[in-house]
Amino acid sequence: MMAAFILAFSLLTLLMFFVSYCRSLTASSLHTSISEDVRDVTGIQARAVGRDYARVMQILHLCPDRPEDRSRLQIVGAYFSFLNLLDQGFAKIFPTVREWAEEERAGCAHFAAVALGRRIALNREMLAEQVEL
């Protein structure tokens, strides 16, 4: 009984720290605006929304990999899947969950779009170096 209570409590706190950790990751990209290149490629207008995430990730996988971004993108990807699950599971019972999840998914999409911008810039640099050679 006690073990089950500790398990439930630790899962709740784990969830809280996981959400905060992911928010701290997505928050690090909030000060960076989405580049024109990314807007052109993805069709993102004023600001990214949740449904942009899948499209941005598809294009992101086509660009050369940046090892610095890899693990962060994986964690944010896991967070995005978690938000989808939350939306599907609880949105009917608690409508505010849907609004919150959508806001968070938009943050994930913005994070991915900023990462895409960095990859496009890297791609350009590599191309320029090859031309020089």
Partner: protein, 231 residues
């Protein structure tokens, strides 16, 4: 645990630990986060000591038992000090570092005294029981302190990205570890649950190393974004 999987987890943990210490040295953060580095170094040393003892004595021998519980106790004290050092960073701007240290010493001595009072009644294997109980009690105190520290981070609108992510990693680690302990008690017959603890041991140095590598000391983030449910 099959030795192959145990070895793979040990290599991963050691590699992550070395990576964190090297990154700290390269980025000039070794002294700033000295107690975090100390914990990781001790973690690797404890693994080496246990392996060395295991080469000469059996897994169920009293020698290995002493080595295991005393290194575990030492690691828990080091982790407790690491939590306190992070709290000192958070409260440094309020000039409360001295009080944080006083509270830490009081908590450490209090926990040790309480543990001794509980264990002193049993006469068999007093030394190992004291190490085991102290380790468990300090672990619980560290867990509670991490939650309080996270509350302080939100209340004080802490913006230092490195500090915030290190505390969050610690919170994730403590929560997951407590959960894995409980899971082992709830479902001991499933062998996979026994892997969770050692795997989680690798998580902390990996996440700290990533934080040190990615963010400079000057990196800042928006405090409002940290609250799980915005108010």
């Amino acid at each position: 645990m099959p030795s192959g999987i145990a070895l793979a987890i040990w290599i991963l943990g050691t590699a992550a630990g070395v990576c964190f210490v090297v990154c700290s040295l390269i980025r000039g953060s070794f002294l700033r986060y000295f107690f975090l580095n100390l914990y990781v170094i001790l973690y690797m040393c404890a693994d080496l000591i246990r392996e060395a003892v295991l080469r000469f004595y059996a897994l169920d021998s009293p020698q290995y038992m002493y080595a295991y519980y005393y290194t575990d106790c030492l690691l828990t004290i080091a982790l407790f000090v690491a939590v306190i050092s992070l709290a000192s960073h958070v409260f440094a701007e309020l000039n409360l570092t001295r009080y944080v240290r006083l509270v830490a010493v009081f908590l450490l001595l209090g926990t040790a005294g309480f543990t001794y009072a509980v264990v002193a009644q049993s006469t068999d294997l007093l030394a190992t029981r004291f190490a085991l109980e102290l380790s468990q009690n300090l672990y619980f105190v560290g867990l509670v302190l991490t939650y309080l520290l996270w509350g302080a981070v939100l209340k004080l609108h802490e913006t230092r990205t490195r500090l915030v992510q290190m505390i969050l990693s610690l919170g994730l680690y403590f929560s997951a570890y407590a959960g894995s302990y409980a899971l082992v008690n709830v479902a001991p017959k499933y062998e996979t649950v026994h892997y969770i603890g050692p795997i989680l041991g690798c998580f902390l140095p990996i996440s700290w190393a990533l934080t040190i590598m990615r963010h400079s000391e000057e990196a800042r983030l928006t405090p409002a974004r940290l609250v799980a449910v915005p108010r």
